[in-house]
Symmetry: C2
């Protein structure tokens, strides 16, 4: 990948190519960072890449790329073992690794656990490279280094760098693109340097990296920007200040150069007081803290927020399927909106011919359910079949003692889940789970029933947003003169699990506008009961919903992963004990 | 709890009562630490406890207890927000909170994530309390503060404290008791002070806190020790040196006393250079680092290691049932050793009358399977029933396209799981999952089949240890003149999943002695492929087992929790991505 894209950069006339954080390993690597063989493989791949670039006659381009390494040239400090893993970046040039550096600010909140894995860097490499208008100084910082005050940004200014190259692995959440852009503008002005913000693209388990790379000049003006959700070469022609004749202020000269080749200097971050900074506590909303996103403000991104969310779900699903080497998916189609949207996302991700759907009617399925499901199949050209569950349910009932209520409802959902799992085992499809975030929050789902599956595309999508995305997808199609993929009736009819006669979601849950607003405050903003009531939520509902959410932790623990799109997803972002006597007190 | 046990301490003549870390909240609280209402509730409960102690005429006993608080009297430092959560301890006396402190060394490896939640303390409180031989100085440190070199232990020495009171929440793992004892001896000598090591008791999700509290004098001699796995009052009569006439060296006097009541001093840890210490990187095996346990040495604990492990499994199971308010459990009985041991643990945990077992014979179940299961039921007096799965399997097969191989095997396992879940929903039992660690490692289990359930008692028990525990439990019974609870045939027969005719585990897996040794090196010690081969494992088997283990990550992600007993369990201890292209290279 690095060699291939460096060639494209060379063809576009680039002197410098910057790649994302942990480009060689993917992110997050989790406990693989603690496995010696894995770290060694990353370090070896870096060396091989440097050599291959030279073999491919690309040694004359400076390449900055993220990778995983162990502590090497970084000065040892008390209590920090030598050889501990670092979230590293390297400068490759002339077939060699010219300089390496390690991320200084390690995020350890939300979905990030970097204190578990890494020790921080304490040197900022500044390299002097030849350019048309004379040599320029380029500094390297990594991801969180840009989000936190002080440290590398300040160091880049002190060093007088003309450009700050920043490899990133910044996961998508709604509206974050705009936040990143504002950050780059602010930091460019603070550093007095242009910034190349280069972000990873692709899905890995529950994270979707959305790209949206960006180059701003030292005044904060955007010079170039890349698309979201797709690999791209972003080319920027920067007019950088020529480097001073003497090495950058405060640096230790490592190599002396004549301006025709690359030379390296390193700035000790301790000298700037930055090394004393304590890791930011999660969710405190400090300026420059991405935890500030936890306040769940409305998206500040570009208009078309629904397009962005939808693209994240499609990429997350496509990459889970592809990277785990599945060729097709299978899911149950109920005629309702959740499975309709999930099937549509899957069809957009891997093509409708590879989306297998199963209609699993029960004795309680209404005529419109089957009709709506068949309509969706026809609109999209999905591969469909019907497997009635009645006879299996009856076979269970014949062997079991009399069952009723939830047990009887769950049994139907589980027979459906088991049919899908059996077809998955026999035919090799990945089972997609169709539950939304509102259901997952309240436990309105059946363990091993509708929650069965390997990946859950709309796991982090509240029900109200499910409807909005369905409408948006239909409008998009209509605007292009295509058949809207989702039957209007699936969007407009009142939601029902159809596990009992005449059952509606509204029998057991409040309307979804009210519920989703409350869930956002409780789950995403982490407000306590008294705060929720003070914020205007109905006290009775607050009590009931908190009880539902807290009581469903065991179900969430066994739920498959799905793409994160909100500031706090169920999964890496929100971690609670199952066993807990704590109950929120309404203060009444 | 604090008031009740303080009364018992008073009745035993105590002047000082020490409780575990996070006594008021339990441990770990995970993201509840970030919820304002929860932290406030903990802080309020502390105050209420102090007042209640006075009301109950227990104000004259000094009480040290762990709890959750937010940063208060701790001096603010750059980048550490005020009001951030701390893992705290308090001294209660005379109806008031006399002093508070916060854990200084925050563990962030293995099962611990304290950098996500807490900021560290930087003051060591030393309090002077009246005693028979004149006033004595007592210092407070918390759990990890004792495991790490420097910091509070050194500060206690500098302060000239006679006793170091240490609240702990130290989770069980095999052989850790002996490690803790050695630690206390070493630290007592270093600090020149007696140590009261007070550990939590009880199960919470996948952790079991085993108690085993300990009091050693300043020479390291054990003065008193408490039992494992059960709440107990440990009384020690210590002959402590009288406090110096002047306040302890290096402390800031907070209150001046005349020796007849408690006075407080605080020692700044920065002055000892301890605050600069970087959090220990996981698994590096530094001296005093509990990560050293990751080397999986043979238990150093007392003889009778099997008794200890068995007790941990029983307590973990009993507390999961009780604390989650279940009254009974249900599990499938196959006649094999895993379900037999799980049923026995459950019967020992909550009584055989509350253990419901279901025989779920299929067309492939052998006569001895049913016989062995029935024998176990009779030996223990469990509540049993039989639900054949054949008719349901046939009903599925009638609706589905032809299935074979794994799909047909998994279907049987899932019909069993679904029967148990339906009975759970109808009758309110907790479903116990019967899989062992060797199965979970290699993926030799069916998602939503035998892996269905809320709690998995032997999840962290390798198959060879399953047999050893079963034999041990039978011998214990025989030694007491009781009927051995587990049929000998379940222990001695070759293991089989019985999902196909004549199937044996040995058809698809190597013998369990070989497999478990390899799994221990790969999973617990985190050795790479080349290291495994160098350690003497068969290269072909290494390749195959690594492929199995890596490929089963998605199954483990949806598995229920179970009690940790080894240095590295599947769960909080070992965290890997599902989506990963990395494959270990054998270097051949």
């Amino acid at each position: 990948m690095v060699v291939e894209w460096t060639r494209r950069a060379a063809e576009a006339g680039a002197d410098l190519a910057v790649f994302p954080e942990m480009m060689l390993t993917g992110y997050p690597v989790e406990d693989l960072a603690l496995r010696e063989s894995f770290v060694t493989a990353s370090a070896r791949t870096l060396l091989a890449t440097a050599e291959l670039l030279a073999v491919e006659r690309l040694g004359g381009i400076a390449v900055v790329t993220g990778y995983l390494d162990r502590r090497q040239d970084l000065a040892p400090r008390v209590g920090r073992p030598a050889g501990a893993p670092v979230d590293a970046a390297a400068l490759l040039y002339d077939g060699k690794i010219q300089a390496t550096t390690a991320k200084h600010h390690l995020p350890n909140y939300g979905v990030f656990d970097e204190y578990r894995y890494f020790v921080p860097g304490d040197r900022l490499p500044v390299f002097r490279m030849p350019a048309d208008g004379g040599p320029v100084d380029v500094a390297i910082a990594i991801c969180e280094d840009l989000w936190q005050d002080g440290g590398p940004v300040l160091a880049a200014r002190t060093a007088g760098a003309g450009l700050l190259a920043v490899p990133n692995a910044s996961p998508y959440e709604r509206g974050k693109l705009g936040v990143r852009e504002e950050l780059c503008v602010r930091r460019a002005r603070e550093a007095g340097a242009a910034i190349a913000f280069v972000n990873m693209v692709g899905g890995q388990d529950e994270l979707v990296f959305d790209g949206g790379s960006l180059v701003v000049d030292a005044t904060g003006a955007t010079v170039a920007s890349g698309p979201q959700f797709t690999d791209a070469l972003v080319v920027a022609d920067l007019d950088l200040p020529a480097a001073a004749a003497t090495p950058p202020a405060g640096t230790e000269p490592v190599d002396a150069g004549d301006g025709t080749t690359i030379t390296i200097h390193r700035l000790a971050l301790e000298d700037l007081g930055a090394a004393e900074r304590w890791p930011v506590t999660p969710g405190r909303g400090e300026p420059g803290d991405p935890g500030a996103g936890l306040t769940s403000e409305p998206p500040q991104g570009p208009p078309g927020g629904l397009a962005e969310v939808y693209a994240a779900l499609v990429l997350g699903t496509a990459d889970y399927v592809r990277k785990n080497r599945f060729r097709s998916v299978i899911l149950g189609l109920s005629g309702g909106i959740d499975s309709a949207l999930t099937a549509t996302i899957a069809a957009d991700a891997i093509g409708p011919d590879r989306v297998h759907v199963v209609l699993l009617p029960s004795r309680y399925s209404s005529g419109h359910s089957i009709g709506d499901a068949e309509d969706l199949v026809k609109r999209q050209g999905l591969t469909a079949r019907t497997i009635p569950i009645r006879s299996v349910v009856e076979a269970f009932e014949a062997e079991l003692p009399p069952i009723d209520g939830l047990a009887a409802e769950n049994l139907q959902a589980r027979v459906r889940g088991m049919n899908l799992m059996t077809l998955s085992n026999q035919e090799g499809h990945l089972v997609l789970t169709t539950g939304n975030k509102s259901e997952l929050a309240t436990g309105y789902s059946t363990l091993y029933g509708d929650s069965a599956g390997g990946f859950a595309p709309i796991k982090d999508v509240p029900k109200t947003l499910v409807w909005a995305l369905a409408r948006w997808r239909n409008e998009q199609a209509a605007g292009r003169g295509e058949t809207p993929p989702i039957p209007e009736n699936s969007i407009s009819k009142p939601p029902s699990a159809e596990l009992a006669p005449g059952q509606l979601d509204s029998d057991s849950l409040p309307d979804y506008e009210t519920l989703d607003a409350l869930l956002d405050d409780y789950v995403v903003r982490d407000m306590g009961a008294a705060q929720l009531v003070a914020a205007g939520h109905d006290p009775g509902l607050v009590e009931r919903v908190i009880r539902l959410v807290d009581g469903a932790e065991y179900k969430r623990r066994q739920y498959p992963p799905g793409p994160k799109i909100t500031p706090k997803n169920f999964g890496r972002d929100r971690r609670l004990p199952i066993t807990s006597r704590w109950r929120e007190d309404l203060g009444r």
